[in-house]
Every structure is written in C-alpha cells, then in structure tokens.
C-alpha cells in the first residue's frame, strides 16, 4: 500500500515502489501547482463548505464492507483539504455528522463515532495536516450530544490548535442549522432579558401617549399594573380580566396583550425608562447582528461556495443562515470520488459567478 508523506517542500512523495513512482508524483505535483497558478489569476474563494455525501453509496458501488465508504471518504477529505489550503483557501467547513444522523442504525452511528475519534487523535500527531498548514480546528455543533470520549477529543484538538492562524477547518458535528439558529435565538433572548431586567419598569411612560388614552378600547395604565391585571400564563391561556374589569379571552391574541403592555404608560409621572425609550424608537429590540454573534459559525465569515457531492441538490439543514447568498454546486461524483478536477471546476464556477455578481453590483 502506498503511503503519502509530505516532504519539506510540500510535495507528496511515495515511500512505495521506487524511482518511477517518485518521478510520477513529482510530475503530478508540478502539474497541480501549475493548475493552481492558473486558477489564482482569478478570485479564489475565502471559504468553501462541503457536504460530504455519498460514502455509503460508494461502498455499495465498490462492493466494500459497510464503514469502508466512510474511510475512503476520509482519505478524499484529506487530499481535498491539502488542495484547498495550497490554493490559499483560508476557511474550509465540512458537514461531518448531522443531528439527524443519530437516527441511523446504532452500529452505524457507533462506527462513525469511532472513526471520528480515531481521526481526531490523528490530527494531534506532529505530521498531521494541521501542523503542516497551521490550521486551527473548530468543532461546530451541539457537542453535548456527543459521547464523552468524542467530545473530550474534540475539545482537546480545539485547544491544541487554537493558536494556529494560517487557515481554519470547521468540522460540523452533531450539527443542524435549525439547532444552531435556535441556540442563537435563545442566546439573544437571554441577553436581552438581562438588559431588560436592568431597566426600571415602574416609572415607564410613553411621552406622546396621553394619560387616560384608550388603546384598543381599553384605558391605558402603568405597564406593571396592567400586566398584573391581565393574568396571562406562560404555558396555558386562561380567561382573565382587562383593566377595565371587562372579561376577555387571553388566548384571543397574546400579541394584543403585549401590544397594550407596550403602548400603555404610567399615569403619574412623565418619565420614560431607558428600556421603553429603546422599545419605542425605530430600532428593533433584536437585530440581525445580535443573533449572528450567537451562531456557532460566528468564528468564520460566510462561505463563498457550498459544494455537495453525489449530485443531490438540497441543503440538508447545513449552514442555512450562512449560505443565504452563497454559490451552490453539486458535482455528480460521490464523496470518496471527489478530487482535484471537481475542486478546480468549483473554483471556475465561483470565478464565473463572481464576475457576474460584480457586473450586477456596478449596474445598481
């Protein structure tokens, strides 16, 4: 079996079967470097994301044992990463394991976890790709869903590589975009809740709402008093009384209660709390940046291109937030078959759409 070991110059010479192989490898390395030089004439994406689809189909196609497809996929990944970092692509994100993948057969899930653990430990070796290219590795996802050994290994790799700064490898494991977005939304809400609690609610006043003014047929009062009157429960909804003593169905519109909470004012003083001054103004309570900073993927810019192997054309809950304006590419090759030609083609497609986008921007 031929093994490839990077030498000082970054070429991959074989410790295998003699001079012929060495010569052949040198030629291919030379040709690859020429190809990369040509591609580098145009813009190179900063961040590529990959959905590594087709490992199981590959194993079936090649009559391999189950699990061998993923091992072949790993080898393809390592080659591709080398090509990407050689080309100067700074960020590479891979979809290694989705939260939905936990629904697969337990033995398949276990063999994938074992493979991941083995490869995470390999990353810590001196001759690994992370040291060769100065790669910082981040594991992106709900890592608490992983078993203890895998989670510990992931954290160790992140810690050991945290000072590397030449390039970044983001491995999405126990990840779905909806889980990421929910996590970010929860984080934003918790943050705003803390800010809100710091405000003094008792003296809230809306400057331009006149005292005693009716809102939706109900007389406005102090927010605190009004809210105590409404008796709206967080879980269920029950009949409560409005501040005029009129019974109403709390469930008619929970939003309308907030509406009245927000537009009501203190009847006594004319003061406006900072919190309500903020709410009253044009700026929304939560902005896009508030959510973005809580995303797992906040450590990297958005991908320029998303490549999904095996010809399937869907996102499968991967980087939904970050790929809003991203170029999509679905080569037909199964993941273990992905190589230099697909990468080169992807770069060319990126360059083609990049120039089209720039033209469009100029037209605007």
């Amino acid at each position: 079996m031929v093994t490839s070991v990077p030498n000082k110059v970054g070429n991959y010479s074989s410790t295998g079967n003699g001079v012929h192989k060495l010569f052949f490898d040198d030629i291919t390395n030379f040709l690859r470097r020429c190809l990369f030089r040509v591609l580098s004439v145009g813009p190179i994406p900063t961040h590529l994301a990959f959905i590594m689809d087709g490992n199981r189909r590959y194993a079936k196609k090649q009559n391999l044992k189950e699990g061998e497809g993923h091992k072949a996929g790993y080898l393809a990944l390592m080659s591709l990463l080398r090509y990407c970092y050689e080309l100067g692509i700074k960020y590479v994100t891979i979809y290694a394991f989705s939260i939905e993948n936990f629904k697969r057969r337990p033995d398949e899930v276990q063999s994938l976890m074992d493979l991941m653990l083995e490869k995470m430990e390999a990353l810590l070796l001196e001759e690994s790709i992370v040291n060769q290219y100065g790669i910082r590795v981040c594991f992106i996802g709900n890592l608490r869903l992983l078993s203890e050994p895998v989670r510990a290994a992931a954290e160790k790799v992140m810690k050991v590589t945290s000072n590397n700064s030449k390039a970044m490898l983001l491995v999405c494991v126990a990840y779905t975009a909806s889980n990421e977005i929910v996590h970010a939304v929860e984080g934003s809400c918790k943050e705003k809740e803390k800010e809100f609690r710091l405000c003094n609610l008792n003296n809230n006043v809306m400057d331009d709402v006149k005292e005693g003014e009716k809102v939706n047929g109900m007389v406005v009062h102090d927010i605190q008093d009004f809210y105590e009157d409404t008796s709206v429960e967080s879980q269920g909804l029950k009949q409560g009384k409005g501040c005029n003593g009129t019974p109403y169905h709390a469930c008619e519109s929970v939003e309308s209660n907030w509406d009245q909470v927000l537009t009501s004012k203190a009847s006594k003083s004319g003061e406006v709390s900072e919190g309500f001054r903020n709410l009253r103004q044009e700026d929304p309570v939560i902005k896009l940046v508030d959510i973005e900073k809580h995303m797992y993927m906040a450590v990297a810019p958005d991908p320029d291109m998303l490549v999904r192997s095996s010809g399937e054309s869907r996102l499968s809950n991967f980087l939904l937030w970050q790929t809003s304006n991203c170029q999509l590419y679905s080569p037909a090759a199964l993941w273990p078959e992905i190589g230099l030609s697909q990468l080169a083609w992807a770069i060319l497609k990126f360059q083609q759409s990049h120039s089209y986008l720039e033209k469009k921007m100029k037209q605007l």
């Binding site: 989705s98 809210y227 309308s256 939904l320």
Partner: protein, 305 residues
C-alpha cells in the same frame, strides 16, 4: 374579467398611528388587528354570484389528468419559486425593464393556474426581496404599482378559483395603499381552501428569523416563556410561514441559471429539493415546470437521516 371588484372606501384595517406599534411588531400588525367586520357588499355579491358554491363543489384535481410521467401521489404539497430573470428577458429583447416584469406577472399567472390544475396546494413566490430596496427608485416604484395593479386585477380570479392569498415580509416599507390592499386581500381570502399563493414581498430569510426571534424575546420579557423553552416548534410558530399548513417547501425552483438561494426562506428550506432552471422567468412555462416536477419525483428524500 366578467366584473370588477372594488373594496369598500373604508379599508377593513385601520392603519395604526406611527407610535402605537414598536417597529418589530409592525410586520404582524395586520394579523393582530384584522377585524371581523363583514365583507363589503360587492365582495358578497362576487362570492355568491360567481359561485363560491361552484368553487367549493368543484374538485379540479380529481377531474384533471396529469401529464405523462407525473405521479399524483408524489406531487409536492408546497412549491417555492425564485422568479429570476425578468430584467434580463427584457434586455435580450431590447425592451424596457418594466416589460420584463409584466411578462413575469403573466408567467406567474400561468404557473398558478397549472398548480391549481395539478393539485399543488401551496405556491410561494419571491416577488421582492429585502435586498431589492437598493434597486433604482424608479424601478422599485414601478414594481410596487405593478403588484397593486396585478392584485386588483386578479381579485376576481382569487374568489372564483377559491385561492387564498397570503403575504409575508416587512410590509411597513411598502406604500400605504399597497399595504392596505394586501392586508384586505389576505383577510378576504383567508377561508379559501383550494390553493394558497404566498407572496413574499420585502422579505428575506434573515428577516423572518429575526422577527421570529424578536417576538420570542418579547414573550420571554413578558414572562410567557423562558428563553430556554425556545425550540424548533416555537420558532416555527413565529416564522411568517405560520400562515400555511405546509410551511416547508418540498421543491424550490430558481430560474435564470443562478445557483443560489438569495436569502429566500432559509429556515424553511432545510430539506427542500432544489431545482435550478436555465430559462428566464417569463419563459418558464408548463414544459419547464413539468421538467422540474419530474426531477423532483425522482429524488430520494432522506430528511437528513
């Protein structure tokens, strides 16, 4: 058009005063305050005269045969479309850009008709993105007037064909008249059951998630939920696609050969099959739509497993 419909002089919705609604609640103001007032007399007339009964009794999907190769059991419930290529279509023909948009409206009408015929329940169309506000003012104004005109012209068809119209997006940025028209149309057609057309105007996937987050933050502030309660289900309830029984498109079609989502419905497209058509939107007709549906029916959907 056998007759034209006119909305009553007093809109069904009274526009709120500028300061009575925080910015982040405004996109929902029309659903918050939609009154239960009866429809205006001309609408009542349209519904009874034109045969809401007829539409109710008619079962077009049973009586229509599908084109060869299409399987009824594998039809997508919800198709989403990014209607790209109208301007390019016009430029290729040395026509003004507005001709491209008008041709695009015609194309949409055809696709809506086909969806009704073939039993697709929901069609979402990306009519105007949040990012499109940066286009030239003249173009934006033309688009707004085109939306208004098209909706007014087709109101009769919506009632006759039992079509429900829903509008998603930040409507506060739209001209007042168009806002009121859309809100009224939504309210008036909300009980139509044959087919639902969701028009995304001043919309983006990011905007949808942010506004859902704002609503959840408010609920948390009011003590209705804890932030730790927030899950996929709560998010789904707050996204603007909560107006439909099928919030997740099964198939997304983008025309004009662009391979990107362009900030349309990000959350909802998690497991949607994507189809990228080369033709420009005004040229996207029945043949192209059939191709997309045939391709969809051959896909093996695993929903991430």
């Amino acid at each position: 058009m056998p007759f034209s419909l006119h909305f009553s002089p007093t809109p069904l919705i009274t526009a709120p005063s500028p300061l009575s609604k925080p910015f982040f609640l405004v996109p929902y103001y029309h659903t918050l305050h939609a009154p239960k007032s009866p429809l205006c007399s001309s609408m009542e007339h349209a519904l009874t005269h034109q045969g809401k009964q007829e539409a109710f009794d008619r079962r077009p999907e049973d009586s229509q045969t599908l084109p060869l190769g299409l399987r009824r059991d594998a039809m997508p419930s919800h198709v989403a479309v990014i209607m790209d290529g109208n301007r390019r279509w016009a430029r290729l023909r040395d026509l003004p850009v507005r001709s491209g948009y008008e041709a695009g409206v015609e194309s949409l009408r055809k696709i809506v008709e086909i969806c009704c015929k073939w039993g697709i329940k929901v069609l979402s169309v990306f009519a105007f993105s949040s990012d499109n506000w940066f286009r030239p003012k003249v173009e934006v104004e033309f688009l707004m007037s085109l939306f208004e005109r098209a909706m007014q012209e087709d109101t009769g068809i919506f009632f006759r064909e039992n079509i429900r119209i829903s509008v998603i997006g930040d409507l506060t940025k739209l001209p007042k008249a168009l806002q009121e028209l859309m809100v009224n149309l939504e309210e008036a057609t909300k009980n139509n059951t044959r087919f639902q057309l969701i028009v995304a105007v001043s919309y983006s996937g990011h905007y949808d998630v942010v506004q859902a987050c704002q609503r959840l933050a408010l609920k948390a502030k009011c003590g209705l939920i804890e932030p730790s309660d927030i899950n996929v289900s709560l998010m789904e309830q707050e996204l603007e696609t909560n107006c439909t029984e099928f919030p997740h498109p099964d198939l997304l079609i983008r025309t004009s050969g662009e391979f990107r989502i362009s900030n349309f419905m990000l959350w909802q497209l998690a497991y949607t099959e994507l189809f990228f058509a080369q033709s420009l939107w005004p040229d996207f007709g029945e043949a192209e739509f059939l191709k997309a549906l045939l391709a969809f029916q051959q896909r093996q959907r695993r929903y991430g497993v």
